[in-house]
Symmetry: C2
Subunit: 253 residues, 2 copies
């Protein structure tokens, strides 16, 4: 398997045809996995926004004030408002905003970006990353993963994760397959789209030298069952109820 | 960057020299990252164990009974005992055993494996994966990541993660670097060893066809500050206190 960046893309503007711009730079194969940073998907989809569009509610003001006091610097309550409007729910309101986005991804600040956005204060995540991936998959005729970087519980640091995917399932389901000793493998589902996003993130980088697209070539899903569930639902999530109870007992709502 | 498996390794036995066995199969370069599944590190280090070595305490019996009742099948309390003995703490006792291992990794069942272990019931994780990685790094003269697969909060499925590493830092620290618009990047630490483990897991697979070693070639850490913190400490972990409170209020201890 080979992983390489697609270089030479211009700064993406609202309305840009990302698929065409990528296809100009690289000759893709049908079984390539094209990992595309959600930042450029958002930029092309016009998800730039200004803080002025988010007049702060009382709840946003309370949230920003509490975080600001602890941090020793003023926090803009309009940013908290933007996070609230992009979220189904906040699992934590302090000391960070841990949000459940409308498409099920759980991340800090609902994934709203404040860097690398010419002419705007904020960049919101794509509204429906699976929908974006599906469109790009059709246009590129390759498998597509829309990626982001995100922190996580228990471990420091960010790593690449998938937000949307098309042309391949989210996961390999090994259940019903057997180990070397003939014992059935149980509970083994491999979230390959997240691993593809992580592999891509190793070569794309962030900051001034960052490139938003990488291709994974010569990687096969293989002869396994597929599963398209990536974001845990309420009923399968053991962490969410504990965080909710914690927030209810320790925080102003 | 290229990722490929190292094929042809024998079934690993206690006392085997993994580095020598790997070096027989592949000609490594100094800047290769050799991703080695913790299973074979454990096997070489003699971490096979039998359930009979873990006579169940009252706590283990209570834990196994409760999980077994909900699952509708008997659970072996000696397995719960093994998990307890391999853990600093259980963050959840029901419906799964979410354990903090002695080296800081948080995972289900303290990472104890019950498949692919000829002649033993269980395979425990290496006692000190960073120590194992350091030894393998010296012997192979390449960068080394000791990997495992692990589930995670909020998202379904397992993905490759790093348990130990040597010859490279755990993370790239981008703080103090700048985005394209000259704005300083904040809070951006990239857990590259986890991303390397994820990339390796895409090609190694599990089950009967699995290979335990993959090489990542032509990947550069780059000119960034490094950080060696991967496992969140108590004070930086927002999830742990919530889970503890949940366990205290909902579960027998």
């Amino acid at each position: 398997m080979e992983v390489f960046t697609v270089d030479g893309l211009p700064e993406i503007q609202p309305g840009d045809d990302i698929a065409a711009l990528i296809a100009e730079q690289v000759s893709l194969r049908e079984d390539d996995v094209v990992c595309i940073a959600s930042t450029i998907v958002s930029k092309a989809e016009g998800r730039q926004a200004d803080l002025a569009e988010f007049p702060a509610s009382d709840r946003a003001k309370r949230i920003a004030e509490r975080i600001g006091e602890a941090a020793g610097e003023r926090k803009d309550p309009r940013f908290a408002q933007a996070v609230l409007e992009e979220s189904e729910e906040l699992l934590l309101e302090f000391p960070i905003l841990l949000a459940v986005t409308r498409f099920g991804h759980i991340t800090v600040n609902a994934g709203i970006d404040r860097s690398n956005i010419p002419g705007a204060d904020l960049l919101l995540l794509p509204e429906d990353p699976n929908n974006s991936a599906e469109r790009l998959h059709e246009e590129l005729d390759s498998r597509v993963v829309v990626t982001d970087t995100s922190g996580r519980p228990f471990r420091y640091g960010q790593r690449g994760v998938a937000l949307g995917w098309a042309g391949l399932p989210a996961a390999r389901d090994w259940r019903g397959e057997y180990d070397r000793n003939g014992k059935e493998l149980t509970a083994t589902v491999q979230a390959v789209v997240d691993e593809l996003a992580a592999a891509a993130n190793l070569v794309t980088g962030e900051g001034a030298g960052g490139t938003p697209v990488a291709v994974v070539r010569d990687w096969n899903f293989g002869d396994h069952e597929g599963s398209d569930e990536l974001f845990r639902t309420e009923t399968d999530d053991l962490i969410r109820p504990a965080l909710r109870a914690w927030t209810d007992s320790h925080q102003d709502r």
